[in-house]
């Protein structure tokens, strides 16, 4: 990623907005942008979703491959998450090897989904020691206007929920629904001005500071946490964010369930 130019005036303006309990796009402190989710949008993927949050647009595609189980885990299949932010998504995303930013994005989203245990890797075994399913979740950004983290995490779980195991194509049985046992949802908070806000848009990310990503499961269990970029936050700030994440993750889960 090219280091974007951060205009000094932007930071000053964001700070003034924060002092006046306002945001650059008119939202409230904890208000998210409208979320649009569409599933089964990629004909060649075994599960897929497109998520739009404001002008941030991402795709998630699930593909299956047959793998040989690892020798120390002969009865398990695997889950792999890969995130790509290519130049298509924004002026500052350059071609070339994955940048630290995109690697962090991929790994944070991966942990949120994997650690929730929503995919039963034991059920992916076909023949112990010989064959198992590998579930590959590919996250692909089309337009970056801030908060790719939450968009990727949401698209990822939405795609997994409608994934169908292509047993027939691989001649190992009949197709069946992959199924997820829970729905982990990620909520990201950026420090803008001197307070945290939810679902930062592009300009807030540009002029903002540290960020915190929280992934919660159906029962408010915490599945992953990440603090990114330099900056300091307090226990009080974190407690408030955790409370907000509990509320918001339920709202998003409801949107997914209503599809």
């Amino acid at each position: 990623m090219a280091i974007p130019l951060v205009p000094k005036l932007l930071r000053a303006h964001l700070a003034e907005l924060a002092e006046n309990d306002a945001r650059i796009d008119g939202r409230q402190q904890w208000e998210g942008r409208d979320v649009e989710i569409e599933t089964s949008v990629l004909p060649r993927a075994e599960g897929s979703a497109r998520v739009r949050m404001g002008d941030t647009i991402v795709f998630a595609g699930v593909k299956f491959q047959i793998m040989k189980p690892y020798s120390d885990r002969p009865n398990q299949g695997g889950l792999m998450c890969s995130a790509e932010i290519r130049p298509v998504a924004g002026r500052n995303w350059e071609s070339g090897p994955p940048s630290p930013e995109s690697i962090e994005l991929g790994r944070v989203v991966d942990r949120g989904i994997r650690e929730s245990g929503c995919i039963d890797v034991d059920a992916l075994c076909i023949i112990p020691g010989e064959k198992a399913w590998q579930v590959i979740l590919d996250l692909f950004a089309i337009s970056d206007d801030g908060n790719l983290f939450d968009a990727f995490a949401l698209a990822g779980i939405a795609a997994l929920r409608n994934a169908v195991v292509p047993a027939e194509r691989f001649e190992v049985g009949e197709d069946y629904s992959l199924g997820v046992s829970k729905t982990p949802i990620m909520c990201s908070y950026h420090k803008v001005g001197d307070r945290f806000v939810y679902d930062a848009c592009g300009r807030e990310e540009l002029g903002g500071d540290e960020r915190i990503h929280i992934t919660l499961g159906d029962d408010d269990h915490v599945h992953s946490l990440q603090k990114g970029l330099k900056g300091i936050f307090s226990t009080e700030e974190f407690t408030e964010i955790m409370g907000r994440a509990q509320e918001r993750s339920k709202e998003i889960r409801d949107i997914l369930d209503s599809l």
Partner: protein, 236 residues
């Protein structure tokens, strides 16, 4: 699979949601790159039009404008190209010991030599006077194809921008923003009680209290939405 409407070849002529612009009147004056615009005999070419084999041809997507014998295109989307004399709002993107690199939203950056900078600057002292990320109000001094354009801050009103916000708007909307004889802009400034300076490179500086700034931003958003030709419906 998705269930979006799909255009079939045989339904291109039918108005059932797919194919064909909705407002025939407005669409008629819209042209696309490569479109023939008639004989070139006796006509002058303006922006977005070239002559090929004796005929006028559009090179951009936009509306045709005929002013006297000049045919030009008002593009739907355009990039700023600096011209000498332009008032511009730029961001310092980098500097050496005796020049600053200024980002103007153009295809390439401009340079601001130390001698044309604000006040008195010593060799090596550029960064302490103006650092990366600062915004300036400057004027384009010269534009030459073989080297970058040069901007200057020596001149009436040119300075470092220390407060307020900078908003971007498509350069071709500047006319609408300013209005006949500056009417629209004057009204905007009064409504919002803000100082507003509109530069030629599609940027404007708004200074005032927060409510005023938000009001100006609101009106700008409205203007951008209203200026889109026809909303693209369905599909996405």
């Amino acid at each position: 699979m998705n269930s979006r409407p799909v255009a079939r070849l045989d339904s291109m002529s039918k108005k059932n949601g797919a194919g064909g612009p909705r407002d025939r009147g407005r669409a008629q004056s819209l042209v696309v790159p490569g479109q023939d615009l008639g004989e070139s005999e006796g006509q002058e070419v303006g922006h977005g039009v070239i002559v090929m084999e004796g005929r006028l041809r559009a090179t951009k997507n936009g509306r045709i404008r005929n002013q006297g014998s000049t045919v030009s295109i008002e593009p739907l989307h355009t990039r700023y190209i600096p011209r000498p004399g332009d008032l511009a709002i730029g961001y310092i993107e980098g500097c050496t010991n005796n020049i600053w690199f200024v980002e103007l939203g153009a295809p390439f950056n401009a340079i601001l030599p130390m001698s044309l900078g604000p006040g008195k600057v010593e060799f090596g002292g550029t960064r302490s006077v103006m650092d990366v990320g600062e915004a300036i109000l400057c004027r384009v001094q010269e534009v030459e194809e073989t080297h970058s354009s040069v901007v200057t801050m020596k001149g009436m009103g040119l300075r470092k921008i220390r407060s307020g916000v900078i908003e971007e708007i498509d350069p071709h909307l500047l006319g609408r923003l300013i209005g006949k004889g500056g009417e629209s802009l004057k009204r905007l400034k009064e409504d919002a009680e803000c100082r507003v300076i509109v530069a030629d490179n599609g940027r404007m500086w708004i200074d005032g209290d927060l409510d005023g700034i938000l009001e100006v931003r609101r009106q700008l958003d409205l203007m951008t939405v209203e200026s889109r030709p026809i909303p693209v419906g369905g599909g996405h």
